[in-house]
Structures are given as structure tokens and as C-alpha cells.
């Protein structure tokens, strides 16, 4: 295949994020008159990649052990060498964040982690791309003059995800040689984590529990609220670690989420925690301490006793038959 550097190549093992990245890649390709290719690591992902809008599907010639990063890195390198894409978009999952810089270092390509924007002009050989800096406190924009730019991006990273268009006809298949993909790291066993925060990053509503939540009253009332709003429960680091309520937490050292609504309950508003939720479309906060820092960082602040307010709030949600507006995604 002749180098054209007009195409995009996407790799992400997380199906939700893959769809968003393909959308963004289509947007970039539209201005370049290029195609979106998706590197697949499992046969079962085929239908998904096609439905995600890939024009080209790249697969290994034989089943490969994919629970370690090394074969994925080698395959992505081969895919880049075969198709000469303009951009390589990798999902910023734990696997992706290892794979992307190694691929860039191995092939001598530019790499931008935590990308938030890509601007590639068909008439120009250089690309502009922006990324978050200091865990989202800042933003940087660079110019890249290399033929191929590798980027990693997280859920909700781009201001506007492209609207995925499904190309007509069957996607083109490209088989990558899988021989000789040995791995120095060998997987012995795996045990699933408790499913507490499984879908946190994709949840439209987060019920965010802070230290103002009483430890001895249990989680029932929050679970009920989460159920009513189709949300997931999460917490600050002290609540997760000291009370052992959740395996992970939101914030600088934990998860970063960007739901449509983050309802914080008894959260003080420390910077370390806010970094995890500042991407939320709306933040509503309930706290009995009027001077809490959260009130200057939220859209709607309720100064009230948490339990008294929640009991009434849940009653009103039920009485008015209020639910998540799912018509607007």
C-alpha cells in the first residue's frame, strides 16, 4: 500500500470508547478524504468494529495471546507500517496508555497523550493537536510536523465527538502477520475485581459520596437515589480507602469522570477530588457546611442536612415521576 498519510487508525479494547474514537477519527478523515481503520484484537469484536463505522478492519493472521501489552504493541506497529496513517488514535485505558508511547518510541513517531482536539489540514503537512495538562488543570496545543501522529484519548476527551457514520458495504479486511509476536511478560492468572465501579466512566449520573456522609447509616438511601437517576455511586478517596466502601475513587489519584450530572453529597471540594469530577456537565452539591469549597465549584448548591434533604428529594423525584432524560445523549 502506498503511503498516503490520509487515513486514521484506531485501537481501543473498550467498546464504548472505541465508538467515540472512531467518530472522532471519521471527523478528521473527512477533511483529508481518508478512511478509518480499526485494529481488532479479538474475533468477537468484528461486528462491533463494523458497526462503529470502520471502513477497514485490521486483524492478526492467527489468534494471539492478548492479555499482555507486547503483542498489541507489535501488531499496532505492523498496522502502522502497512497502512501509513496520518493519525493513530489509541484509547487511554491502562492498556492503551502503555501501548501508545511504546509504539511511538519504537517507530520514532510523535505522541500526544490525553488528547482533547485534533486539527489536520489536507493542504498542510503539519497537524495541530491539543491535550490536557496537569490532569486537566491546563491545556496545551502543539504543532506536529511528522507524517504520523499517535494520540491517546479518554472517554469524553473531545468537546465534540464526531457523529459516527456507517460506511456503505462491507469493511475492507487486512490481515496482519501474527508470527513471531512473543511476549517477555507471561500471564499466569487473573481474578476479577469487585464490580463496584465497573461502568463509572460511562455513567450519565454519578452520586459522589464524601466524608459528610455518615459511616454507620449504610448505603441504601444513595443506592435508591442512584437507581432512580440511572446513576452509579462513587466516592472521594477517604471514603473509599478508610471506610473500604469502594475499590476505587474519584480524583487525582483515582478515576476521572465526565457525566452529565455529578451529585456530590457531603463532599468538601478539595482540589485533589475536584480534578476527578470537573469535566461533569453539571455539578450539584449537598452539604450542611455553607463555607465548604464545593459551593464555589458547583452549578447548584444545597445548604442543608444531607439526610433530611435526600429523603425529601427522593420523595419529590418519585412524586413527580422524574427520570434521566435519555433522549439527549
Amino acid at each position: 500500500m502506498m503511503p498516503n498519510h490520509r487515513d486514521a487508525l484506531v485501537f481501543c479494547e473498550d467498546p464504548h470508547l472505541l465508538t467515540a474514537l472512531v467518530g472522532k477519527a471519521q471527523q478528521v478523515c473527512a477533511s483529508l478524504d481518508g478512511q478509518v481503520g480499526v485494529l481488532l484484537i479479538q474475533e468477537t469484536d468484528l461486528a462491533l468494529a463494523a458497526s462503529a463505522g470502520a471502513s477497514r478492519i485490521l486483524q492478526p493472521s492467527a489468534p494471539v495471546q492478548f492479555d499482555s501489552a507486547e503483542p498489541v504493541i507489535a501488531l499496532l506497529c505492523r498496522a502502522i507500517e502497512e497502512t501509513h496513517p496520518r493519525i493513530v488514535l489509541v484509547g487511554a485505558t491502562r492498556l492503551g496508555l502503555e501501548v501508545a508511547p511504546r509504539v511511538a518510541e519504537r517507530l520514532g513517531l510523535d505522541y500526544l497523550p490525553w488528547a482533547t482536539g485534533i486539527d489536520v489540514d489536507a493542504g498542510s503537512s503539519s497537524a495541530r493537536a491539543s491535550a490536557q495538562l496537569y490532569s486537566g488543570l491546563g491545556r496545551v496545543e502543539y504543532q506536529f510536523d511528522g507524517p504520523t501522529l499517535v494520540l491517546s484519548a479518554a472517554v469524553g476527551a473531545f468537546q465534540e465527538d464526531g457523529v459516527v457514520e456507517i460506511p456503505e458495504g462491507e469493511p475492507q479486511r487486512l490481515i496482519l502477520e501474527a508470527a513471531g509476536l512473543s511476549a517477555g511478560v507471561r500471564v499466569l492468572s487473573a481474578r476479577p475485581k469487585s464490580a463496584g465501579n465497573e461502568s463509572l466512566e460511562h455513567s450519565p449520573v454519578i452520586i459522589d459520596l464524601g466524608q459528610g456522609v455518615r459511616a454507620d447509616d449504610g448505603l441504601e438511601i444513595y443506592r435508591e437515589l442512584a437507581g432512580l437517576l440511572h446513576g452509579q455511586m462513587a466516592s472521594t478517596r477517604p471514603v473509599a480507602v478508610e471506610r473500604n466502601w469502594f475499590p476505587e475513587w474519584l480524583g487525582l489519584s483515582g478515576f476521572t469522570v465526565s457525566p452529565r450530572l455529578c451529585l456530590t453529597l457531603g463532599v468538601a471540594g478539595a482540589v485533589q477530588h475536584m480534578i476527578g469530577i470537573r469535566g461533569s456537565e453539571r455539578i450539584a452539591a449537598v452539604n450542611n457546611d455553607e463555607s465548604a469549597a464545593i459551593f464555589s465549584q458547583c452549578d447548584y448548591g444545597i445548604v442543608a442536612d444531607l439526610y433530611a434533604f435526600l429523603t425529601v428529594f427522593i420523595d419529590r423525584l418519585k412524586a413527580r415521576k422524574v427520570r434521566l432524560n435519555e433522549t439527549r445523549i
Binding site: L133, G138, R139, A190, R320, V322
Partner: protein
């Protein structure tokens, strides 16, 4: 076992403020320190040294002033620290950083294990471990929560999104430490006194041929077009009426008009 621990003098990003009018990032006066993630790295290195014997040497790439911030990690149990002076004044590309680290690793001779954080406390980009693995041609195990060594191999518990995976890798290799794994020990006054006698060597590019080559041959940083703070503007509508029912209804109304909630009765 000879362990090399990569540590970074990081900005305390919780102290970074954004000018609300100009959107400028206020970086002047923001304190620098060995980051929390890197203290986890040091704790892992010292525990392995205590279990298997040998030595633990810290390697850092940063400004010469960083040496003032090494007291704590030396007190925790590192034997010595090599500081590669970053002559670019903080403008080093990730490619340069790993080339300089590779030069130092090579100059330090045989080793069994390189430990690093899964990310740095300020940049948080998780590039150094993966890129260094490529440069050195070594296996990398990312996001380690527990490490055991035996007969030229390590067994590591890897903290992935949905599972804890047990993997084996041959030595030498690179291991990145997961967030909040290996919480750092408390140090005593005696530890601090002993730490004062431990060596900190500062390596400058002109003193080492390999370092000079690393600086000369590394790819330049991409041209920076813009660097700004992110200002998230929030409505800051505060409700503090004692009529909780009215307040609950007001909150619901706000979220309905935002298009986040919807009301069946309407």
C-alpha cells in the same frame, strides 16, 4: 538484587491556580517535591531490597536544585541518588528524558530491576516507563500492586481496569507501580540523620559521553503553540431555604431545564 528507582521532582499540582481573568496558569511559586507516586516507587524498591538483599539506587532527571528534595527518599532507605541535570530548564521532550535515563542506567552497570511510577504526579502522562522499556529493550510490567522475586524472575500482581492479573517476567525488567500501592513508610529522626551521609551525585551532560549523545540526538519537543489554564465556569446557584420540599423542586426544575432530567407528568 540491584534495584534502580526512577524518581521525579514534580510540581505540586494542587497548588497550581488559574488566573480567572486571563486564563493563565500560575506556575510561579508552585512547590516542587518528590511526588506521592514516586514515594510509592521508593517504598517498593526499599521493601524489595529488605526482602532480597542488595541495593536500591534512585535516578532522577531534573534541575540541580532537586537535590534538596531527596532527603525523605534517602531516609526511607534508598542507598544513593544519581541526579541527571536537565540543562533544558524543564523543556525536555519525553524522548530526551528516556535517552538521558538510558545513558545513566547503562553507566551504572548491571542491575536486576528498574522501578518507576505508572505516571508522574504532575505530567501524569505515563510515558517514561513504556518508552524506557523500548529504549532498553526490556520487558515492562505496568501497574504493579505486589512484587515477588525468585530464580531470575519476578511475579507481579498487575492492577488492570477489571481484574488483578498475575504475570511473570524475566529479570532484568522494568516494573511500574500502580497508584496508591506500596504506601511510604514513616521515617525516624535516626533515618534522617543516616540519610545525610548518603551520596547524591549530579551528572552533567558534559561529564558523560553517553549523556552528551543522549542530549544531542534526542528528538526535539514539538513546537508549543499555546498553554493555558482551563477555567470551568459553574453557575454557583446556592439554595439554603429551610423549606426542603421547595428546594428539592427547585433543583429538579433546574436539572429539567438543563435537559438532564425529564418529568413524566409534564
Amino acid at each position: 538484587m540491584r534495584i534502580l528507582a526512577l524518581i521525579k521532582n514534580s510540581l505540586d499540582i494542587t497548588e497550581i491556580k488559574v488566573d480567572p481573568n486571563s486564563g493563565e496558569l500560575r506556575l510561579a511559586g508552585v512547590p516542587e517535591r518528590i511526588g506521592a507516586i514516586d514515594k510509592n516507587v521508593v517504598e517498593a524498591a526499599v521493601r524489595l531490597k529488605e526482602t532480597y538483599g542488595g541495593s536500591a539506587c534512585g535516578i532522577s532527571f531534573g534541575p540541580a536544585e532537586a537535590r534538596d528534595n531527596f532527603k525523605d527518599v534517602l531516609a526511607m532507605g534508598l542507598d544513593e541518588i544519581v541526579l541527571i541535570e536537565d540543562s533544558t530548564k524543564g523543556e525536555a521532550s519525553a524522548g530526551l528524558t528516556v535517552r538521558a535515563l538510558k545513558a545513566a542506567v547503562r553507566a551504572l552497570g548491571a542491575f536486576d530491576l528498574i522501578l518507576c511510577g505508572f505516571a508522574s504526579d504532575d505530567g501524569y502522562t505515563y510515558q517514561t516507563g513504556p518508552r524506557l522499556a523500548e529504549r532498553l529493550g526490556l520487558p515492562l510490567v505496568s501497574y504493579a500492586r505486589a512484587i515477588e522475586a525468585s530464580e531470575g524472575k519476578v511475579r507481579v500482581e498487575q492492577d488492570l481496569e477489571d481484574c488483578i492479573q498475575l504475570v511473570a517476567a524475566p529479570l532484568p525488567c522494568i516494573i511500574s507501580i500502580a497508584e496508591e500501592a506500596f504506601p511510604p513508610r514513616r521515617t525516624t529522626l535516626m533515618d534522617a540523620i543516616k540519610a545525610k551521609k548518603k551520596p547524591i551525585s549530579i551528572w552533567r551532560r558534559e561529564d558523560h559521553l553517553e549523556l552528551e549523545e543522549a542530549f544531542r540526538n534526542a528528538p526535539a519537543s514539538a513546537p508549543l503553540l499555546e498553554k493555558t489554564g482551563v477555567i470551568v465556569r459553574r453557575k454557583q446557584q446556592i439554595f439554603k431555604s429551610s423549606d426542603l420540599c421547595a428546594t428539592a423542586d427547585q433543583l429538579i426544575d433546574c436539572l429539567i431545564s438543563d435537559g438532564i432530567l425529564t418529568e413524566e407528568n409534564a
